[in-house]
Symmetry: C2
């Protein structure tokens, strides 16, 4: 029966993202302005005023297709990162970049290795592209052991997906580890640096040494443009050339291109966002009344034991605070939550409510 979908799709589960404000408004009757969304690692301040200006300026010309390939944006990224534009690829969010790379390299039956817990979206994209997922558990501090990865690699391994800082755990891949993997493994080392602007360091310089390393970045986090969908990556010019053939020619929209170019130029704004996030992150790390983990991203990973993550998530939602229950992440525990660093008032609020919940022993 030709109308049945591919077998790999039938096994696929649906990606459940963090709840949005409308859902909480509807479910609990809380006015939208009272809802704190600390679930999707969005920028707490919003987009740069320069990006907003660019969007407004572009509004009247959205009947025109974007420039094919978005080379104007590649030039701007090239200047920002000091890498040649010929090494930059763009996508409809990092999701789009991952999809494009899967299209390039994954034949049915090939596999991608995921040190878990990690960004669930990437796993689902691998499966939707006909690939298999191979999991390697991180240690108790969520560090990756190269030996565990070497053991998992087989002749069908095409990629190792390494999120750094890692979503949802917040820690980075050590340079030593990334180098060891890039040197020893004949597969693509996908370094997802979506949160790198909040971290102390980047692995970008590795692309000069290893042609199998791809560094993925996004405008969705520090740059505050999640709603516009624009991700990018730095890779070898050979991969770039092939990628440009498989990605639809107008993949990144016109408004995203203009807003991203403007956002890159607003260095003061980005600096302010990063400082605010780092400050809020330290506060959450210190004051959340459960076990928290060190974070280099704009979120903090928390183990709410002895409570269940689903219970804490639901209770906070009743109080107008949306956080992320991480129990659906492969390899996470049912006591793991992730809190996005928000505005200081929201950080205070989530800490206060967690303290109350803990003291009331969960009964309220």
């Amino acid at each position: 029966m030709p109308l049945s979908v591919r077998e790999c799709i039938r096994e696929l589960r649906e990606y459940i993202p963090g709840k949005n404000i409308e859902e909480v408004v509807e479910k609990y009757g809380i006015p939208p302005e009272k809802v704190a969304k600390l679930a999707s690692n969005e920028n707490p301040i919003g987009p740069s005023p320069k990006a907003i200006e660019a969007i407004i300026r572009t509004a009247g010309s959205v009947h025109i297709y974007p420039e094919k390939g978005g080379w104007k944006l590649r030039e701007a990224i090239s200047e920002y990162l000091e890498v040649p534009p010929e090494t930059i690829i763009l996508g409809n969010g990092v999701d789009g970049v991952i999809e494009g790379l899967m299209k390039l390299f994954i034949e049915p039956g090939d596999n991608v290795i995921f040190p878990i817990p990690t960004f669930l979206g990437a796993e689902l994209l691998a499966v939707a592209s006909g690939g298999r997922t191979k999991y390697v558990m991180r240690d108790e501090n969520f560090e990756i052991s190269p030996d565990d990865i070497f053991e998992a690699v087989d002749e069908r391994t095409k990629m190792i997906y390494l999120c750094t800082p890692n979503n949802p755990t917040g820690n980075v891949v050590e340079e030593r580890v990334a180098r060891e993997l890039a040197e020893e493994i004949d597969a693509l080392i996908l370094l997802d640096e979506a949160y790198v602007e909040f971290a102390d360091s980047s692995l970008l310089h590795l692309i000069e040494e290893y042609e199998n390393v791809v560094i993925m970045r996004t405008f969705s986090k520090a740059f505050g443009l999640a709603g516009l969908r624009c991700g990018y990556a730095i890779c070898s010019p050979e991969i770039r050339k092939e990628y440009d053939k498989v990605i639809p020619p107008f993949d990144v929209n016109r408004v995203a291109i203009e807003a991203a170019i403007a956002a890159l130029k607003d260095k003061e704004f980005i600096k302010m966002v990063i400082e605010l996030v780092r400050e809020g992150r330290e506060f959450l790390r210190k004051d959340v009344p459960f076990k928290t983990y060190p974070s280099q991203a704009n979120f903090v990973f928390v183990d709410v034991s002895p409570f269940k993550s689903s219970f804490i998530t639901e209770e906070l939602m009743k109080r107008g605070i949306i956080i992320r229950d991480c129990s659906s992440f492969t390899g996470a525990k049912d006591t793991h939550i992730r809190i996005t660093v928000g505005k200081m008032e929201d950080n205070l609020r989530v800490v206060e409510e967690l303290k109350k919940l803990k003291e009331s022993d969960g009964f309220n």
Copy 2:
């Protein structure tokens, strides 16, 4: 060597879209306001003022991810077309919808049948997804013979791609033909109605009768939102459910969702766009001094024999008019061009320049 790309990708050529205004400005030093872009079948008037308002209103909240799955927009489309929201899928342009459907159904070695000439982008997406293309020539009026298609179908045929009105030829698929194919063939009948708002009729009602029919639509043409990338399709609820698993959760951006909802509501504006296009289309059909074909879309297909399409395209570009050389479309001739219906002043201009070119016998 695991780092080599899939074989299907190596064979793939790059999609070359219509030239943009910047390229002409750069190449010929013509001021941008003097350039008429009649190459990409964009809306000649621009987006609806209501859509522009919606974009401006959304500019400040682009740091927030779009609502997962864009159900608010599906509801609006549901109301507009009077079909259940559970039968609507969204994508990053029609390209995105096609890609998602390919991911659902195409295993390497499966094939998609294309009656040519037709929309080249769809062919490239099929190949990038690991599929093979099978071509069936249209007749001298670009009509499709069901028998030719039946002959091309084999056990690996998963889809028949039918663009209606067809890009670049402008004619529609007759209902009788679509029914015959949907009844006889156990494959997806993809009806790409990107240009249907300019046509006299639609085949939308067929989805109630045939579960293997998918109707694709877009906001890029009559609705004037090409730059925002939003396509959609109407299909069986079963396909919809599987599609929603393979498409990234935030595929359509936040600005596109809001602008599309606003554009759907501005019925007066759409009516005006359609009237203007129909009027301009009749003018081009009548006054272009070469063989033109009947069109139900917002463009006119022209055979510029004895001239070559590349010559005419280049000469018009020197005069600040961008049209589409169709010689790169599989199955088209090297004398075929496509002219997008523009504002009346631009339609007059292209006719005048074509007349001059013809009279000067190509020497200038």
